[in-house]
């Protein structure tokens, strides 16, 4: 565990090689090389506009939705290409789920929110299977006890923290391998944040998680590895403990001690 990169360590889940992202003429991410290990939490930290969200959104091709966005370099999921133009994006997104900065439950019932993905992909064809899948997903997201009596009420009627856990339940209902989380707690109060952080800690036994965060304490609390990005470049990527106690780069040191950013 301590010696990352030794021969005994498992194959990386996600690999990025020389990944650059352009918005039109403007380059947002510069030649990033990154290995994401399975069943670990990897945190991306860095000042606003450093490209950490952009990099995260490359992994499930969410940048495809943005006009003029262009990605170069190679990205692999379990050794299979995910960056090429011939990749089935729909298939990819069922394997790499995403949780967004602002909780974005659909204006449907709690049940329909969780059942949305399974229905799309025909995962649970019968009603009883779907019921079971919805319940398991809500339980795994730690929100079942709070919503089991109002499963037919709109997801938008829940509190912010509950909405975000509903979104996590929605993402894991299609049984992805990887969960991308783009500042999942930035719109939540400290108590809801603590609940989500505990949840992330539990989920890492089954999922590979990448979390973008502005909150360095959060990165230190939940992640095993941390990548520090600045101005679109990957400055340092190492075990979280090392990043926060003994970083090799002076700019990482400056950032985590609050000298800039």
């Amino acid at each position: 565990m301590v010696n990352a990169g030794t021969a005994s360590s498992p194959q990386p889940k996600l690999v990025a090689r020389e990944v650059s992202v352009f918005y039109g003429e403007k380059q947002a991410v510069f030649d990033v090389d990154l290995d994401i290990m399975p069943r670990e939490v990897t945190a991306f930290i860095g000042p606003s506009g450093c490209g950490k969200s952009t990099l995260l959104r490359c992994f499930n091709r969410m940048n495809d939705l943005i006009e003029n966005c262009r990605i170069t370099g190679s990205m692999l999921l379990d050794g299979g290409d995910i960056a090429g133009s011939d990749v089935d994006v729909v298939q990819l997104r069922t394997r790499i789920g995403m949780v967004f900065q602002k909780p974005n439950p659909f204006p449907k019932s709690v049940y329909d929110n969780v059942a949305y993905g399974p229905r799309l992909h025909g995962v649970a064809p019968t009603r009883s299977e779907l019921d079971e899948l919805v319940e398991t997903s809500l339980r795994r997201a730690g929100i079942w006890d709070e919503v089991k009596d109002r499963i037919d009420q709109p997801g938008t009627s829940l509190s912010g923290g509950q909405q975000q856990r509903l979104c996590i339940a929605r993402a894991i209902a299609i049984r992805p391998d990887v969960l991308l989380m783009d500042e999942p707690c930035s719109a939540l109060d400290p108590i809801a944040t603590a609940t989500i952080e505990e949840l992330i800690d539990e989920l890492k036994s089954e999922y590979t998680i990448i979390i973008v965060t502005h909150n360095m304490q959060q990165a230190a609390r939940v992640s095993q590895r941390t990548a520090f990005l600045n101005l679109g470049r990957l400055i340092e990527f190492d075990e979280t403990q090392k990043i926060f106690t003994n970083p090799s780069e002076p700019s990482t040191q400056d950032y985590i001690t609050g000298r800039f950013g």
Partner: protein, 450 residues
Amino acid sequence: MLLSYLPLLIIALFGVGAFYASRARISAAPQRALPGLPGHYGWYGTLWTVVPAALVYAVWTIIDDQVIRNIVLSDFPELSGAAATLLYVSIENAAAGVMTDDVPMASVELLLNLENLSAAARFALVTAVSVLGFFWGWRRIRPELTARDRVETALLVALFIASIIAILTTVGIVLSLVVETFRFFQLVSPFEFFFGLEWSPQIALRDDQVAASGAFGAVPVFAGTLLITVIAMLVAGPIGLMSAIYLAEYAHPRVRAVIKPLLEILAGIPTVVYGFFAALVLAPSMRNLGVDLGLTISSESALAAGLIMGIMIIPFVSSLSDDIMTAVPMSLREGSYGLGATASETIKRVILPAATPGIVGGFMLAISRAIGETMIVVMAAGLAANLTANPFEAVTTVTVQIATLLVGDHEFDSEKTMAAFALGLTLFFVTLALNVVALRVVQKYSERYE
């Protein structure tokens, strides 16, 4: 002539002057924390100078004709009603320089004198009120005056009056419809009107005329409106909604910037142009097509009118639906795409449900336009009140019948003209009910995203 508009000019000039004078007065006062900007004090002065004077002008203008008329006609106590009106009109004509015979010149003289006197008096009074108002306001302009509150209140009152005007107008229209409809139902039984299957509003001008009795069964007319509206919505609904989906979700911004305004031009074409396009191009070619296919398509048909009307109202559906779909937050789209949904699945399951209220609003607007449309139907669907569901036949609509009933030389108290009011009132309630139902449906089934 000059004297009648001069007071308005005076009021306007005084108003401008009052603004600067009042502002200067407060600016000259010892400076401290004023309850308002200097401009508020300016407006306060303007309001006192303008509003009372304008009210006096309006009231005077409204009543002076009546007063003058009474004075002039008091010389002829033996005349009353229409005879008095006739005499007064000829006196007025003579005063305006149009020569008419048999006009008592003394009365013409009197009228001219009174009119001049009235204009002069009005001018003097308005000017005086304006000046008095100005000094009234001027005296009150002190640093203690809460000018901002006063001006804001005046603005509030003005806004309230503006909003009331539309409501009052509607109430007035409905009341006049109700009164005339009531009179109509005294001549023709409501039962015949609402359930009668024959519409032929031919009232005889002479007693010995052929076909002297009219039939006022409104069912065929409403059926015609329904048929044409349904055809129009069958065209505009799918085409409008699909073009909105394309524009909002698929089109490149540059394509959208071109197509959307072009689509909206459709709504700007005068309906009479659509009408003659339908009558001269579409209807004949449809009739010829019918001949080729062995169908009997009348040269004036519900189908031709409905198709053209459908094209006309596409923008009402597409533009509103497009706006409302574009307003659905990006975060919902990302949420759906992030779960591996395709674009069409996202539209079907997330965007459309969330945009339902606006889309229904667009449909309702389009339906109202279709129901209210007259010109296209006159030209393309004809005037024959056939009770039929066959779109190849000529039909007529409520609005067309209203127009033809009122365009004619019938007296205003015949059944024929009053039938128009009954049709209008019924149509009003139908569209009102439609709107209420649509609103309820939207409230019940829409997925509100915020």
